[in-house]
Amino acid sequence: MIMKNRFLQLACAAIITSIGFISCSKDSGTVTIITSTSVNSLNSAGSDGHFSFYSLETGQQIASSDSATAKWDIAFRSTTILINGGTSGPANGGAFVQRGVTFDTYNTISTDSTFKIDGINGVVRAIPTGSGNGWYSYNFSTDIISPIAGNILIVRTASGKYAKVEIQSYYQNAPTMPDANSVSRYYTFRYVFQANGTKTFN
């Protein structure tokens, strides 16, 4: 029902570079509580040791000085993704990796789904790290990180609402065929945020 128009999405993506993030607006003219957003090349290099914090609810990047608040929902640093809950943040966020679905057709979070939270010392993460465990696979012969097709992240935000997130690329400007020269740690992802607190996305 929502899906912002694709042209706008592309236009927004084209404007933003490197540290860019982008929140495309809701469909103009209709009142909806579902937002679809594409984020292009969010820098997660963590060169200062900090994660890059992001609010799915507002579509804004959040300053790392606000890391101890409920302002952010997910955070990125290289291949690690945190949620705002458990040992990672003060809010009640959670997440799990839904395997074997396509982003567009996944519309309902089943009632028996368990949202995980980040545990101690990063031993347990809501979104597990490691090749093949969570959102990506690592190919050591090419040294390339590829998002696993069919795996999406189901996130409970800091405010207890729900979003589905698909990581599309780990490389700057999301090249179709990343190679040794591609710059890594740049997240390109899209997500749908349901603002009314229900577990449906349509």
């Binding site: 396509t102 790290t129 490691g130 090749s131 690592y138 012969s141 590829s146 097709a149």
Partner: protein
């Protein structure tokens, strides 16, 4: 990723033998009908090619020379179904199986020294060998470990008349090849010796990079074969070979993680010694025995150091690897009746490896292998031949293994020969898979690889040091199990039909099922985000297809051959995953879809179709010319959608086309001139085939003098 390691490929059946030629020239090798040629590799005894029940290809000296091939990879690349891989040197993919699974022999004795399972074929000069025999399908029943896909045997010339000769060739990229050889026969003693020097200036396919695509190198090979005939019953032969190569790393500029420029340079030396001793004795007209002692030593050392902005200890990368392999073997051939022969044999192998790859310092690892083999060959009647063989390998470091084989030949009508064989192959875990304990510091990524024997202690240490961020429990548990040998079953069914003296058709269907494939995969992720890898038996793969060749000789001076191979490969685990209710998802042009079996493309690095057309011409006046076309359909090189298997939407190479031509003339006085071009149309794929620099032109001259026996 495991698919990369598990590379499995394809194969084709080619009996490529050159026929017609000028009787007046000195080094003419007359091959009347290639089916009359004698092969030794398939049964460890001399048999006519037409009488061998397993797929065999012979490439003779004339084909090698007229094709202008210098190294083993040059000539094997022109055989349909043989795929030359290009990581860790030029490896050979055969019958759908990766380079790890083909045994390379020189005069029946194994060549050792593999990197990541690959034996670099370019180490072997082929200009002066007698012929190459290629046996396809599992041959572990005769040769033991590694002969899972097949065996390539380089047969050197036996000294039979006094000769001397020399040749010189120069071509693109400074490729210079100089050879000299001599043979002396004196009463009961004979000696042949030859030397070869090869230089390549290297090339750079990517001008924006300061690193050469191929660093310059040169090598030389010295070879000698001596024989002494004590009596008509007793003969002694010694065969020695020495290879030495030096490759220089041109100064290479790069930047480190903090963006500081640095430069390093260095070199890599490779040495290879092979010495074999054979004492042959005929106890009676029915019993003949061979006692063989073989020693080989392979050494490779890489030393690269910083020459600008030296960060600490001046060492950029140091690698040392040495393998010594000593084998004592007896083989006895017994003619039980005029129609049945028995071969029995046994031996002991001392296999030692000394390297810094297994630990921080240089350590030595040893393995001892004992084996027994036998083969019974029974010509039941004039249309039915049966060969049954079996080999038992005892291994100090892991379980012993039995490899059986059964082959049959039927000749229902005179023009048709049907060959059927089934055999077991195996490959023992190698030193690297058992003992590797390596953390890469030079690449800046800091990944760790732990062999099977090291994984428990290695992981405990890393965990104690707090270096482990997360563990892939499934793979880690698998890695803790003792490694088993990889095993295979191969079936070949071949038909050879001679339409007329001018046309011969060969077709061979094959299927290989490999179990317990040793794969490598991350077992844990370190806190620095790099991975810990180990080895474990996991995958089951198959390769199947057929290979065919038609040889047509329209007139005496011309031979045309057309070869083709169709290959299907799959990892059975991938197929199960695709069929499972959870399914596997892929991404094609950004669109995520659920895979069907149709979307699955099998194993990486395999061409589904490969073909060649070769035309050889030679007339009575000594002129020769040839045209060889090689085609391979694109092969999968990289997973792009994180599902780790190869499917629609992943990265494939473009189709491979190469056209090679050569022209030359033999003169009556033993002189030969030749010029040619490989890859006439300048096919290139800089990313996926950096071993192919484009068109290569060359010209050469050789002289050969033979003192004919009176």
């Amino acid at each position: 990723m495991f698919k990369h390691i598990v590379t499995i490929g394809f194969c084709c059946f080619t009996i490529t033998t050159f026929a017609q030629q000028n009787k007046t020239t000195a080094d003419t090798l007359q091959a009347k009908n290639n089916l009359d040629e004698v092969v030794v590799t398939a049964t460890r005894s001399e048999r006519k090619l037409s009488n061998v029940a397993v797929p065999v290809t012979i490439i003779n000296k004339k084909t090698i020379q007229q094709s202008g091939s210098l190294r083993l990879n040059d000539i094997l690349n022109e055989q349909a179904g043989l795929f030359i891989t290009n990581s860790f040197g030029s490896g050979l993919q055969m019958q759908g199986l990766s380079p790890d699974y083909t045994l390379i022999l020189i005069d029946g004795e194994p060549v050792v020294g593999r990197t990541s399972g690959v034996l670099d074929l370019s180490r072997i000069a082929v200009a002066n060998i007698k012929k190459i025999e290629i046996v396809k399908g599992p041959s572990s029943s005769l040769y033991g470990s590694d002969a899972m896909a097949g065996v390539v045997n380089i047969i050197t010339e036996n000294p039979y008349q006094n000769t001397y000769g020399a040749s010189l060739r120069y071509g693109s990229f400074g490729v210079t090849d100089i050879s000299a050889n001599t043979t002396v026969i004196k009463n009961k003693f004979n000696l042949s010796a030859q030397g070869n020097f090869y230089n390549n200036n290297g090339y750079n396919l990517n001008p924006s990079s300061s690193a050469q695509t191929l660093d310059p190198f040169y090598n030389y090979t010295l070879q000698a074969k001596a024989g002494y005939k004590f009596s008509d019953k007793t003969k002694w032969t010694v065969n020695a070979r020495y290879f030495n190569q030096l490759q220089t790393t041109n100064p290479y500029k790069d930047v480190d993680a903090s963006n500081n420029a640095f430069v390093f340079s260095g070199n890599e030396t490779t040495k290879d010694v092979n010495i074999s001793n054979t004492l042959e004795h005929k106890f009676s007209s029915a019993v003949k025995s061979y006692l063989r002692i073989y020693y080989t030593d392979y050494q490779s050392a890489t030393n690269q150091s910083y020459i600008y902005n030296n960060p600490s200890n001046n060492i950029y990368y140091n690698d040392y690897f040495e393998q010594t392999f000593t084998r004592l073997e007896n083989q006895t051939d017994i003619a039980i009746t005029s129609k049945s022969n028995l071969i029995i044999g046994g031996g002991w192998i001392f296999d030692n490896v000394k390297s810094n790859r297994y630990d921080e310092s240089i350590v030595t690892k040893k393995n001892n292998i004992g084996y027994l083999f036998s083969q019974y060959d029974w010509q039941i009647n004039n249309w039915w031949n049966v060969i049954a063989g079996m080999r038992y390998d005892y291994n100090q470091n892991y379980a012993s293994h039995v490899s059986p084989k059964l082959a049959m030949q039927f000749i229902p009508v005179k023009k048709l020969k049907i060959n059927a064989s089934i055999g077991g192959g195996f490959k023992a875990p190698d030193f690297r898979q058992l003992y590797l304990n390596f953390t890469n510091t030079s690449a800046g990524t800091g990944y760790t690889v732990l062999g099977n024997n090291e994984v428990a202690a290695g992981m405990q240490l890393l965990q104690r040091q707090g270096q482990i961020q997360s563990v892939n429990q499934v793979f880690y548990n698998a890695a803790l199990q003792p490694l088993q040998p990889e095993t295979s079953t191969g079936i070949n069914l071949g038909f050879n039909y001679t339409f007329t003296k001018k046309i011969n058709l060969n077709i061979n269907f094959f299927r290989n099922d490999v179990n317990n494939l040793i794969t490598t995969s991350p077992i844990a992720q370190k806190t620095n985000n790099s991975f810990v890898y180990s080895y474990f038996n996991l995958n089951k793969v198959y390769t199947q297809g057929f290979e065919t060749e038609i040889i047509y000789k329209p007139i005496k001076a011309i031979q045309i051959s057309v070869g083709y191979q169709l290959l299907y490969t799959a990892d059975k685990h991938d197929i199960d995953s695709i069929k499972s209710s959870a399914g596997v998802y892929g991404r094609d042009n950004g669109v995520v879809y659920r895979l069907t079996l149709k979307d699955y493309k099998g194993l990486f690095d395999r061409s589904k179709h490969s073909a060649n057309i070769k035309i050889y011409y030679e007339n009575k006046n000594g002129w020769f010319a040839n045209l060889r076309e090689i085609y391979r359909s694109g092969w999968g090189v990289q997973d792009l959608d994180g599902n780790l298997l190869l499917n629609r939407g992943d990265l494939f190479t473009k189709d491979f086309f190469q056209t090679n031509i050569s022209i030359g003339k033999f003169f009556n006085n033993g002189l030969k001139v030749q010029a040619g071009c490989d890859n006439v149309f300048n096919w290139k794929d800089i990313i996926n085939s950096p071993n192919i620099p484009g068109a290569l032109f060359y010209a050469g001259i050789s002289y050969s003098f033979t003192q004919h026996k009176k």
